[in-house]
């Protein structure tokens, strides 16, 4: 007898179109196993369903002594280029605007327990992720999620990713209006939309209810909108209409771009067609071949925002009418406010005894809603993780304290489906990798706190310096360079054990394991970017210290790196930086203003002695990463004379290039963008020449010769190519050089923004030079 399957069991509970999609994917899994589906095609189809690869999925892992081949039953069968079939992977689960119901939380807990390792990870874009999942288990995961209204479709790939929004939408006193219905409408409208299927790269959307807060991070999104109101045109009766400021072309990644204002006011009924028009222009004109230049930000940089705006308006005028543009809006002049409504009566927090620890928790983890008698509780998750048992416990608490008893989900977002109107689940994932419980009657906060403590989720300090955001880094990500989670755990522990004044306690620390910036380090007060350095022939994990970023005002500005610090010194660096801020800040001075005032040179001086790495023989601890005792070095690099002779001048040259990049930073700070850009270019030249000299000692200092030799010896030979980013970083240098050789800085005035970007490119080029040198020395040592 055939065993019962989830497909059988859930028949009738998964919508027909979605069920068919999952069946197709299951068939494709079978075809790929039989070799009847090309691996690249299969890779794209699984990515579009959120089924990612994970670290070591090429079947090689360095165990701290040597690189070992991982042996799998399916042998060389792959699920994508250099991705073995049996290697465990990651399942990303889209949670639009982070909204969850209690029953969805229970199913998420179940699938984590059965197919993963009983851990659910909240991402910086309000997704959830399961790690160490086998590809053959993913169809059943998808079915079980679909049965409670969750789809993984377009969680990855060159698609519209999870639509994010402020987790306090609808309950925040500072918002213009609740953006949730609009986020929902956008999600439904764009999922599987034919105009959003031909992008060269991913496309991220965020909605914010206000300008000033950070909750939705509009400025770092491809398409970001901020809710606003204006007087109804032509009326003098004081009536207002709802709409959005529309921003485009933001993004972090290796070279971050701030979004540009596209349209000052788009009426609510125009939001969806405007998004559609942006998608069409991006699909038509965006880069398709070179994925490193394929995000919308590059198209806008190339065209200029005014030309892009003209194209979008033109495209909008051509769009055929679609009733879904406005179907989600109320008839007439009704309001969507109140669609999300309380299910229990509100009540103020009364006097009386409080449980131990309640006051500290209340101070940092509770914020009043605009609806009297209710509060939002932020459940702080260490590194965004919680167990299946905790997730089930939170589902119970959502039911008990917020009255979340939605048993039927809002329907699964399907291509062509209309978005239903609320009500919504009372739980939301946040971009700070926490979970927010909304609509909690204030009178019940002490009881809720006690229940959270019992679940191990009663930690105070949400949104404080100890509440650290970190991407997966080397723990599970294929691209990770340093252990962002290891450092995050260490720093969180380190900072929690210290007293901080209110200004320091309010700082944000974020870290990314590589330049892709998933940990959003650019927008932290104190950010860290994982890099590596070669010291005496061994690799040492480092983090670039990034300061000057702004978390508030929807990610108002991006920071720049001031120096690479050995990973094991980071806690001390944080102590020094926060200590200096505590001692020397002016009354009311923000951290960003403080950094601007003292200057990055002073900051660099503050940590200068911490940049040094002791020799391996003296302290081998520096040569492994946080939470990972394996020696960080990849391959057994010799420390013989030959390597020593090579190492010395290269280190000297790359250090010089770093100095020049840092000086560029100082010029930028001092309002000299032209000089900053020139020095950033010089830094790239120095780094390039340093590498060229490994093969050609007599290369001159003539920029053209350096560039030509660099191209011939390092780019054409693929020596400089990053295993994942390819020639991206080399092109930063060659592009700037060609502009300089042509006698210009790339056309137009050198603005601070362009200089900022040039410095970012120089810093990344230098990091790539370090990595290239490491690869070259490994090859020699092998």
């Amino acid at each position: 007898m055939q065993a019962l399957t989830w497909k059988d069991k859930l028949a009738g509970r998964v919508s027909e179109p979605l069920g068919r999609e999952i069946d197709i994917f299951e068939t494709e899994i079978g075809l790929r196993k039989q070799g009847k589906m090309e691996e690249k095609l299969f890779a794209e189809t699984r990515l579009r369903r959120g089924v990612y690869g994970q670290r070591y999925d090429n079947g090689q892992r360095h165990d701290g002594i040597a690189s070992q081949t991982l042996s799998y039953p399916s042998g060389e069968l792959t699920k994508g280029p250099m991705t073995l079939w049996d290697a465990p992977g990651m399942q990303r689960i889209k949670i639009p605007y982070g909204v969850l119901t209690a029953d969805q939380m229970e199913v998420l807990a179940e699938v984590a327990e059965e197919y993963s390792d009983a851990i659910l990870h909240v991402t910086t874009r309000q997704d959830l992720q399961l790690h160490f999942v086998h590809v053959e288990d993913t169809p059943d995961i998808m079915r079980r999620l679909a049965a409670v209204g969750i789809t993984t479709r377009e969680a990855c790939g060159n698609t519209v990713r999870n639509v994010t929004a402020c987790p306090y939408a609808g309950v925040c006193g500072d918002e213009s209006f609740d953006t949730t219905p609009y986020a929902q409408a956008l999600t439904y409208f764009l999922l599987g939309h034919q105009d959003a299927q031909d992008f060269g790269r991913k496309f991220k959307i965020a909605l914010s209810g206000c300008r000033q807060h950070a909750c939705a991070l509009v400025n770092m999104h491809d398409l970001g909108v901020i809710a606003c109101r204006r007087p109804v045109p032509g009326n003098s009766d004081g009536r207002e209409e709802r709409g959005f400021e529309v921003y485009v072309g933001g993004g972090l990644g290796s070279v971050p771009h701030q979004a540009k204002l596209l349209l000052e006011f788009v009426p609510e009924g125009e939001l969806l067609p405007t998004a559609q028009a942006v998608a069409r222009v991006f699909a038509r004109l965006g880069e398709k071949k070179n994925r490193q230049r394929a995000r919308l930000k590059f198209l806008i940089a190339r065209l200029g925002v005014e030309e892009f705006k003209r194209l979008v308006i033109e495209e909008r005028a051509r769009l055929p009418l679609d009733r879904r543009w406005t179907a989600f809006l109320p008839e007439g002049e009704g309001d969507l406010a109140g669609v999300d409504r309380p299910r229990k009566p509100g009540a103020p927090l009364g006097p009386g005894a409080r449980p131990e620890g309640f006051e500290a928790w209340h101070k940092t983890n509770v914020r009043p809603q605009k609806q009297p008698g209710y509060a939002v509780v932020t459940v702080r998750l260490p590194l965004g993780d919680l167990t299946s048992r905790q997730m089930r416990g939170l589902a119970n608490l959502a039911r008990r304290f917020t009255g979340d008893t939605l048993t039927r989900p809002l329907g699964v977002a399907e291509a062509g489906a209309e978005a239903p109107r609320g009500p919504y689940g009372s739980v939301r994932a946040t971009v700070e990798q926490n979970i927010a419980l909304r609509w909690v009657p204030e009178a019940e906060l002490p009881a809720l706190y006690q229940e959270l403590v019992a679940l191990g989720l009663g930690m105070a300090g949400a949104g404080t310096i100890a509440d650290i955001t970190a991407c997966p880094g080397t723990d599970t990500c294929k691209l990770g360079i340093s252990s962002s989670r290891g450092l995050g755990a260490e720093l969180s522990h380190h900072l929690a054990a210290r007293e901080h004044d209110a200004a320091v306690a309010g700082l944000h620390i974020k870290m990314s394991g590589c330049f892709n910036a998933c940990g959003q380090h650019h927008i932290a007060d104190i950010g860290f970017l994982g890099v590596s350095r070669n010291v005496g022939g061994r690799r040492v994990p480092h983090f670039q210290l990034v300061v000057g970023g702004q978390w508030t005002e929807n990610a108002g500005s991006y920071g720049l790196a001031v120096g690479a610090i050995p990973s094991k010194r980071i806690p001390e660096v944080v102590d020094r930086v926060t200590g200096l801020y505590t001692r020397e800040r002016l009354a009311g001075e923000s951290f960003q203003a403080f950094i601007r005032r003292i200057g990055k040179a002073a900051l660099r001086t503050l940590v200068e002695d911490l940049l040094e790495v002791p020799p391996y023989e003296q302290d081998p601890g520096f040569y492994s990463d946080w939470g990972d005792p394996r020696e960080y070095t990849i391959g057994d690099l010799g420390v013989g004379e030959c390597a020593g002779e090579v190492v010395s001048p290269v280190h000297f040259g790359l250090a010089a290039s770093e100095r020049e990049a840092f000086e560029a930073l100082l010029h930028l700070d001092q309002g000299r963008p032209e000089e900053a850009a020139r020095l950033a270019y010089t830094a790239m030249l120095t780094a390039a020449r340093t590498l060229v000299r490994l093969q050609y000692l007599d290369v001159s200092e003539e920029p053209d010769e350096i560039a030509n030799e660099f191209r011939t010896r390092l780019v054409d030979t693929r020596l400089f190519a990053d295993p994942y980013a390819g020639d991206k970083f080399a092109q930063y240098f060659l592009r700037v050089h060609s502009r300089s050789a042509a006698g210009g800085g790339g056309g137009g005035e050198m603005t601070a923004e362009r200089a900022h970007r040039r410095i970012e490119e120089a810093q990344l080029f230098i990091e790539a030079a370090h990595a290239c040198y490491d690869r070259m020395t490994q090859t020699r040592g092998a």
Partner: protein
């Protein structure tokens, strides 16, 4: 019973069980197991969840199974969970699951850095099925697995009868049963009785 996602947890005994155990001590141990190929299966990586309250602690990720120094419900223990299909009838797969968990627990006891500090007990062994489709947490599943569980329990306990204590309080939880023997039992003896050892 078709389910193959079987889990067995062998609990740490006092005094280590009462809060003295630090999960980070197991990270280098599991890394060494990968380096030294301590277990006869494909081991991939070590995942550290020490920051999570009563979580899976430190997980040695394998292809076919995971091994964790698990802290679920505040009860530290070695948890083995089979992830990929296994050969044989249910009773054979069950025996292999018990043997693998006991074997790993014994190896941990013998680790130089942990020797003397860490002891596991086999008097009570927790059995789980990580498959709600084929094994919902209730009496029907218990009835289906009872004969095989009692048989394996008796083997572990040298022929003595065991008692099954189901944990049915929460029907949403994984099917869970504690297999309890008549007296104290160390993991080396239990493993040897299942044909394991060395």
């Amino acid at each position: 019973m078709e389910a193959y996602r079987l889990g067995v947890k062998v609990f740490v005994e006092p005094p280590a069980a009462s809060g003295a155990l630090r999960s980070e001590e197991f990270i280098p141990v599991f890394h060494r197991w990968i380096q030294n190929r301590r277990l006869a299966e494909t081991l991939i990586d070590v995942a550290d969840y020490g920051h999570v309250h009563q979580g899976p602690g430190v997980v040695l990720i394998g292809h076919a199974a995971n091994y964790a120094l698990d802290f679920d419900e505040g009860l530290p223990g070695l948890l083995y969970v089979r992830k990929r299909p296994a050969e044989g009838a249910f009773a054979e797969r069950l025996a292999e699951t018990f043997r693998a968990a006991l074997h790993a627990a014994r190896l941990l006891e013998e680790e130089p850095g942990l020797a003397g500090k860490l002891r596991f007990g086999a008097a009570r062994i927790r059995f789980r099925i990580h498959d709600r489709l084929l094994a919902p947490n209730g009496s029907a599943t218990l009835a289906a697995v009872r004969p095989a569980l009692e048989a394996i329990g008796a083997r572990v306990h040298g022929g003595a009868a065991v008692t099954l204590h189901p944990l049915f309080e929460d029907p949403r939880a994984l099917f869970t049963v504690d297999v309890v023997g008549p007296g104290a039992l160390d993991v080396a003896t239990a493993e040897a009785r299942l044909g394991g050892g060395t």
